[in-house]
C-alpha cells in the first residue's frame, strides 16, 4: 500500500507539471485543444490526490504500521474518528492534506468559472499547479508521508498526541487549512489577470466569493484554536500570541483588508494596485505561516520542530513568489492606474483606506513581534523575546481604532460627506456609544482599555441599528410592505452590505468578550479534602479525588462543589488523563461552568491521593462566551453575504400584490425556523407512563448523562458506567438502569437521583468520573447547526416558490438593486 501511495504522489507531481506547461503553451498559442487538455489534467490531479488520501486513511484504519507516519501518529486502540484525523496530525500528512485541499478547491474554482472567465483559466491552472508542484516536491524528495521502515516495523503505533485527541483539534486544522489553501485561488486569479492583462474588475468578482469563503474558514479555524486553547491547554486564557496562532492571524488581517478595499475598487475604480498587492501578500502570508510553523524558525509549543532543509526549500519558494508576483505588478502598472482620486478625507473610501492601513499595520506588527526573537538573534547575536504583554500593549489600541472605524465607515457617504449629514448620521450612534461608556463607568470598569471598548461597542451597534432602521424605512416607503418584509428585502437587495453589517455585529460581540478580560480573576490554591477557597463570588470546596480507567486512559478526577452565598449551585469535575503510551504527558481536563456573564474555570494542577488534596487553578473569565457567540453571528453574516442571488427574490419584489404574498412567505419561513430549532430546547425529564423496555437505552439527553454518571456495582465490569456496562447481559446494570428510568419518569432531578442511588448502593463509589466530554461539549453547536440547516432549507424553498410564482422578478433584480442603492445613498445625503 505504501508504495502505491508514493507512486500516486509521484504521478500527481508529473501530471501537475504537465498541466502547468500545457496550459501556458495552450494559452499563448490560443490552442483550444491544449487548454482543454490542461483542464483535464488539472481535474486528474484532484482524482489522484483523492486516491492518495484514500490510501493514507486506509493505512490508518487498517493499522499499517510498516509506514512510519502511521506509527508516529496513531495506534491500534485509538477510536475510529481519531484514526481518520491522524491523517493531518503530523507534518508530512499535513502537507499532503494541504495539496489534497488545494486540488479540490482548484478543480471547483476552475469548474465554476470555466465559462465566465475563460481567458483566465489556463493561467489559473498553471499557477495552482506550480504551487501544488512545490508541495508535492517537498513530499516526494524530503517528507514522504508514505516512507516505510526498511526492516522490522513496530507492532503498534505510538498514538496520536493526547492533546490532539480532541474534537476541536480534529476540526481546527482542516478548517484553518481550508482558509489558508482557499487564499491560493484569489492569488491564482490575480496572477492570471496580471499575465493576461484582463485587469478590469471582472477577476475581482471571480475571487471575491472565494476570499470571503476562505476568510470564513480562517476565522472559524482561529476561533476553534482559541476554544481549544481555552478548554484543553488549561491555562485559563485563549490567546497567547504564540507564533502558530499569529501565523493564522497574519493572512486574516490582509484578507480582511482586501474584502474592504475591493468595495472601493468596484465603486470608485481606485486602489487597483493595492488590491492586487493584498491578494499577493495574503497568499504569501499563508505560505509564510506554513513555513514558520514547520521549519523551526521560531520556537513554539505548537510548532512541528526543527527542519533546516525544509526551511531552505520554503525560503526559496517564498522568494520566488515575491519576485515573480511583484515583477508582474510592476510590468502591469500602466494598466492598474486609478480612474479616480480621493475627493475628501471625510468620505467612505477614506475610511476604508484608513481601515486597510491599520489592518496592514497590524499584520506587519504581529509579523515583527513573532519574528523578533529570530531577528534579534540574527542581528545582535542575543536572543531577545517579546512577551504577550508587548503584543497586548500595541494591539489593544489598534483593535480599538479598527472598532471605531467599523462604526464610522458606514456613516460616511461615498466621495464626500457634508457637515450637515455628518451631524445627522453621527447623532444616534454617538449617543449609544456614550450610553454604553457611562454604563461601563457605573460598573467601575477602567476607562482604558475595557471602558473605551464598551463605549465603542455601543457606538458600532448604534451605527448598524441606524443603518438597518433607515434602510428598512426607505424600502417600506418604496414598496409599501410591512416592516419585516422590507427588512428581509433590504438585506436581499444588498446582501454583501447588510451581511457585512451582521459580520460587524459579530465583531462587536467578540470585542465585548475581549473587554471582559479586564475583570479576570486567577488564583492557585491547594485544597485538602473538605477545605474550600473563595474566588470572586464563588466558594469552591474539595470533596475528594477519584481514579478511574476506561481502557485507553487513566482518569484522575477532583470532585468540587461550587456555592454562592452559602448555597450550593453546581459541581465541577476537573481531571487529569494519562493516555496509554503517553503516561508521561497527562492532559488536563478543564472543568468550566459557563454562563453568559462569566465562566468559572477550574484546572486540576496536581493532586495527592494519600490525603485527597488537590492543587487547583481557579479562574473567573467574564464575558468570554460572547467571543464564541460573536463568531457564530459573524458566520451567519458571511453566510448571508455568500448566498446566491435568487434566494431572497421573494422579498425583493416591488408590487404590493406580490409583497402581500411575500409577507405570508416570511411568516411561514419564521415558523419553519422556529420549529426547526424547537426540538433542541425541549428539556429532559418527560415522563413515560408504561415502561416495558427490555433494555434501558437513554431516551433523553438527561437520562444519557445520568447513565454516564453512575457506575455499575456488579463488580465484574471494572467500574463501567451504566451506559457502558451492557455487553455481558449484566443484570445489575440492567436493574440499575431500570431504577434510573423510573426515577426520571417520576420527575426527579439530578441531585435527588444521586442521593437515592447513594442511599441504596452506599457511598460515592457508584459515582462515575464525569463523562468523556468530547462530543457533549459540542452540544451548544447544535442549535446553530439546526438553525443553519433550516436557513438552507428556507433558502431553497424560497427560490423554488419565487420561480414558480413570478419568473420575471429575478431578471428585474439587478437594475432595481442599483436603483435602490442610489436612492439609499441619495437619501442619506439629503435626509
Amino acid at each position: 500500500m505504501a508504495s502505491l501511495g508514493s507512486a500516486l504522489l509521484l504521478a500527481t507531481f508529473v501530471v501537475c507539471s504537465y498541466a502547468a506547461v500545457v496550459s501556458v503553451v495552450g494559452a499563448r498559442q490560443r490552442s483550444r485543444r491544449l487548454i482543454e487538455s490542461g483542464i483535464g489534467a488539472f481535474h486528474l490531479i484532484t482524482a489522484l490526490m483523492v486516491a492518495a488520501s484514500a490510501v493514507m486513511i486506509n493505512a490508518f484504519l487498517t493499522g499499517d504500521f510498516s509506514i512510519k507516519y502511521v506509527v508516529h501518529n496513531s495506534d491500534s486502540v485509538q477510536p475510529l474518528f481519531y484514526k481518520i484525523t491522524s491523517y493531518w496530525g503530523g507534518l508530512d500528512g499535513s502537507i499532503m492534506f494541504w495539496v489534497f485541499l488545494l486540488s479540490v478547491f482548484g478543480s471547483l474554482a476552475v469548474y465554476v468559472n470555466r465559462e465566465r472567465h475563460r481567458e483566465l483559466i489556463p493561467y489559473v491552472i498553471a499557477t495552482i499547479s506550480v504551487v501544488q508542484m512545490f508541495f508535492l516536491y517537498l513530499m516526494v524528495v524530503h517528507k514522504n508521508p508514505f516512507t516505510t521502515y526498511l526492516t522490522n516495523a513496530p507492532a503498534d503505533g505510538q498514538g496520536l498526541n493526547p492533546l490532539l485527541q480532541n474534537v476541536y483539534m480534529a476540526i481546527h486544522p482542516p478548517s484553518l487549512y481550508t482558509g489558508f489553501v482557499g487564499m491560493t485561488i484569489p492569488f491564482a486569479f490575480g496572477i492570471a489577470a496580471l499575465i493576461t492583462g484582463h485587469l478590469d474588475d471582472s477577476w475581482l468578482r471571480a475571487v471575491r466569493r472565494w476570499t470571503m469563503f476562505s476568510w470564513l474558514f480562517l476565522s472559524f479555524g482561529l476561533t476553534l484554536g482559541m476554544i481549544w486553547a481555552y478548554e484543553e491547554l488549561g491555562w485559563g486564557g485563549y490567546w497567547a500570541w504564540d507564533p502558530v496562532e499569529n501565523a493564522g492571524l497574519l493572512p486574516w488581517f490582509t484578507a480582511t483588508a482586501f474584502l474592504h478595499s475591493v468595495m472601493v475598487q468596484e465603486r470608485r475604480s481606485m486602489l487597483r494596485v493595492w488590491n492586487v498587492t493584498l491578494v499577493i501578500v495574503t497568499f504569501f502570508l499563508t505560505i509564510f505561516g506554513t513555513f514558520m510553523t514547520r521549519s523551526g524558525v521560531v520556537q513554539s509549543v505548537h510548532a512541528f520542530g526543527d527542519d533546516p532543509i525544509l526551511a531552505k526549500l520554503f525560503t526559496g519558494f517564498m522568494v520566488a513568489i515575491l519576485v515573480f508576483s511583484f515583477s508582474l505588478v510592476i510590468w502591469r502598472l500602466p494598466l492598474l492606474k486609478a480612474r479616480n482620486e480621493l475627493d475628501s478625507w471625510l468620505s467612505r473610501e477614506a475610511a476604508f483606506l484608513l481601515n486597510n492601513w491599520i489592518l496592514l499595520f497590524a499584520a506587519l506588527f504581529v509579523l515583527f513581534g513573532t519574528m523578533f526573537p529570530t531577528l534579534s538573534e540574527a542581528i545582535t547575536g542575543e536572543r531577545l523575546t517579546v512577551a504577550g504583554a508587548f503584543f497586548n500593549k500595541w494591539m489593544a489600541p489598534v483593535g480599538l481604532v479598527l472598532l471605531l472605524l467599523t462604526g464610522v465607515g458606514p456613516l460616511l457617504a461615498w466621495r464626500r460627506s457634508t457637515l450637515k449629514n455628518l451631524a445627522d448620521q453621527f447623532l444616534w450612534p454617538v449617543v449609544a456609544g456614550l450610553a454604553a461608556g457611562t454604563l461601563a463607568m457605573l460598573f467601575r470598569i477602567p476607562l482604558w482599555s475595557a471602558g473605551l471598548c464598551f463605549a465603542l461597542c455601543g457606538f458600532v451597534v448604534g451605527t448598524i441599528t441606524q443603518e438597518f432602521w433607515r434602510g428598512t424605512r426607505v424600502r417600506r416607503k418604496n414598496t409599501g410592505t410591512d416592516f419585516l418584509t422590507a427588512l428581509v428585502g433590504l438585506v436581499g437587495r444588498n446582501k454583501r452590505r447588510y451581511g457585512g453589517y451582521i459580520v460587524h455585529v459579530g465583531i462587536v460581540l467578540i470585542f465585548f468578550g475581549f473587554a471582559g478580560n479586564a475583570r479576570k480573576l486567577d488564583e492557585q490554591v491547594l485544597l485538602k479534602v473538605g477545605q474550600d477557597a473563595k474566588i470572586g463570588r464563588y466558594t469552591i470546596k474539595n470533596n475528594g479525588i477519584k481514579v478511574g480507567d476506561d481502557g485507553q486512559k487513566q482518569m484522575t478526577t477532583a470532585y468540587l462543589t461550587v456555592s454562592v452565598d452559602g448555597k450550593e449551585i453546581d459541581h465541577l469535575y476537573p481531571a487529569r488523563w494519562a493516555y496509554r503510551r503517553h503516561e508521561q504527558e497527562p492532559t488536563t481536563e478543564v472543568a468550566i461552568r459557563r454562563t453568559p456573564a462569566e465562566d468559572l474555570y477550574a484546572v486540576l494542577g496536581g493532586f495527592d491521593l494519600a490525603d485527597q488534596s488537590a492543587t487547583l487553578q481557579l479562574v473567573v473569565n467574564p464575558l468570554v462566551n460572547w467571543i464564541w457567540i460573536g463568531f457564530g453571528v459573524m458566520a451567519l453574516g458571511t453566510g448571508i453575504a455568500l448566498l446566491p442571488e435568487r434566494s431572497f427574490a421573494f422579498a425583493v419584489s416591488k408590487l404590493p400584490a406580490e409583497a402581500a404574498a411575500a409577507s405570508t412567505t416570511v411568516a411561514l419561513l419564521l415558523i419553519l425556523l422556529v420549529s426547526g430549532a424547537a426540538p433542541v430546547s425541549a428539556q429532559p425529564g418527560m415522563g413515560g407512563a408504561e415502561d416495558t423496555r427490555s433494555s434501558y437505552y437513554a431516551r433523553t439527553p438527561f437520562e444519557k448523562q445520568m447513565q454516564h454518571e453512575i457506575v455499575c456495582t456488579c463488580g465484574a465490569c471494572g467500574h463501567q458506567t451504566l451506559a457502558e456496562c451492557r455487553k455481558d447481559n449484566c443484570s445489575t446494570s440492567h436493574q440499575m438502569r431500570g431504577e434510573l428510568a423510573a426515577m426520571i419518569d417520576q420527575g426527579k432531578n439530578h441531585d435527588e437521583i444521586i442521593q437515592a442511588f447513594m442511599a441504596k448502593y452506599g457511598g460515592e463509589e457508584m459515582l462515575g468520573a464525569p463523562v468523556d466530554k468530547g462530543f457533549n461539549r459540542l452540544a451548544w453547536l447544535f442549535p446553530y447547526l439546526i438553525g443553519a440547516a433550516s436557513a438552507v432549507v428556507v433558502g431553497f424553498v424560497a427560490v423554488k416558490w419565487t420561480r414558480k410564482m413570478e419568473p420575471e422578478t429575478a431578471n428585474a433584480a439587478p437594475i432595481d438593486a442599483a436603483l435602490d442603492e442610489r436612492i439609499d445613498d441619495e437619501l442619506r445625503d439629503l435626509d
Binding site: 512510519k68 508516529h72 493531518w88 496530525g89 503530523g90 507534518l91 508530512d92 499535513s94 505510538q158 498526541n161 492533546l163 490532539l164 483539534m169 486544522p173 484553518l176 491555562w235 502558530v244 501565523a247 493564522g248 510553523t293 509549543v301 505548537h302 510548532a303 512541528f304 520542530g305 526543527d306 523578533f372 526573537p373 534579534s376 542575543e382 536572543r383 531577545l384 523575546t385 517579546v386 512577551a387 504583554a389 508587548f390 500593549k393 500595541w394 492557585q524 491547594l526 485538602k528 487529569r576 508521561q584 504527558e585 497527562p586 492532559t587 488536563t588 484546572v603 494542577g605 496536581g606 488534596s613 492543587t615 487553578q617
Partner: protein, 145 residues
C-alpha cells in the same frame, strides 16, 4: 504640487518617528533576554534584576515542595541531565502550579529575575519540555498547529 509633497513628506516623517519612538520605548520594557545558564552565570552582575528567560535542565532529585503549599525549590543546570558535565547550576524558587512536564531532568525555560540568592520565577513562568525518549531519537513531529 511641490507644496503638497512637502506636507505629505512631513506628515510621514512625524508618523514614522512617533512610531519608532513608541516601539523603542515599549520594546525596552517588553523584551526578555533568552539565555542559557552558563551565559548568565559566567558573570552574573549585568543580569541581576533583568527580565530573563533562562534555559536549562532540572537537576535530578532537586525538586522540593514545601508541605501543603505551592512553594517550589529546585536546581537547574546548564547541560542536559546525564551528560558528563553538568555546567553551572542555579537555585530556583517558584510559587504556583507547575506544568505536567515539569520533573527531574526536564528541559525548562524559566521566566523571571536573577538575584544573589538565586533565580525567582514569575507566576506561571515555568515552561517545560518533556524528556521524551522517542522524540530525541526520531526528531519527529509530535504537536500540530
Amino acid at each position: 504640487m511641490t507644496h503638497r509633497y512637502i506636507k505629505v513628506g512631513l506628515t510621514a516623517a512625524v508618523l514614522v518617528l512617533a512610531f519608532a519612538g513608541m516601539l523603542w520605548s515599549t520594546l525596552r520594557e517588553g523584551t526578555e533576554y533568552y539565555k542559557n545558564i552558563d551565559e548568565v552565570m559566567a558573570n552574573t552582575a549585568p543580569w541581576q534584576g533583568k527580565q530573563l528567560q533562562l534555559h536549562g535542565y532540572v537537576v535530578p532529585n532537586s525538586i522540593f515542595v514545601k508541605k501543603e503549599t505551592l512553594e517550589y525549590r529546585f536546581k537547574v543546570q546548564n547541560n542536559p541531565a546525564r551528560s558528563p558535565e553538568a555546567g553551572n547550576v542555579v537555585d530556583v524558587t517558584y510559587k504556583g502550579i507547575v506544568p505536567d512536564t515539569f520533573k527531574d531532568e526536564a528541559e525548562v525555560v524559566l521566566k523571571g529575575k536573577l538575584s544573589p540568592e538565586g533565580f525567582h520565577t514569575d507566576p506561571n513562568g515555568v515552561m517545560a519540555k518533556c524528556p521524551s525518549k522517542y522524540e530525541a531519537q526520531e526528531k519527529s513531529a509530535s504537536a500540530g498547529s
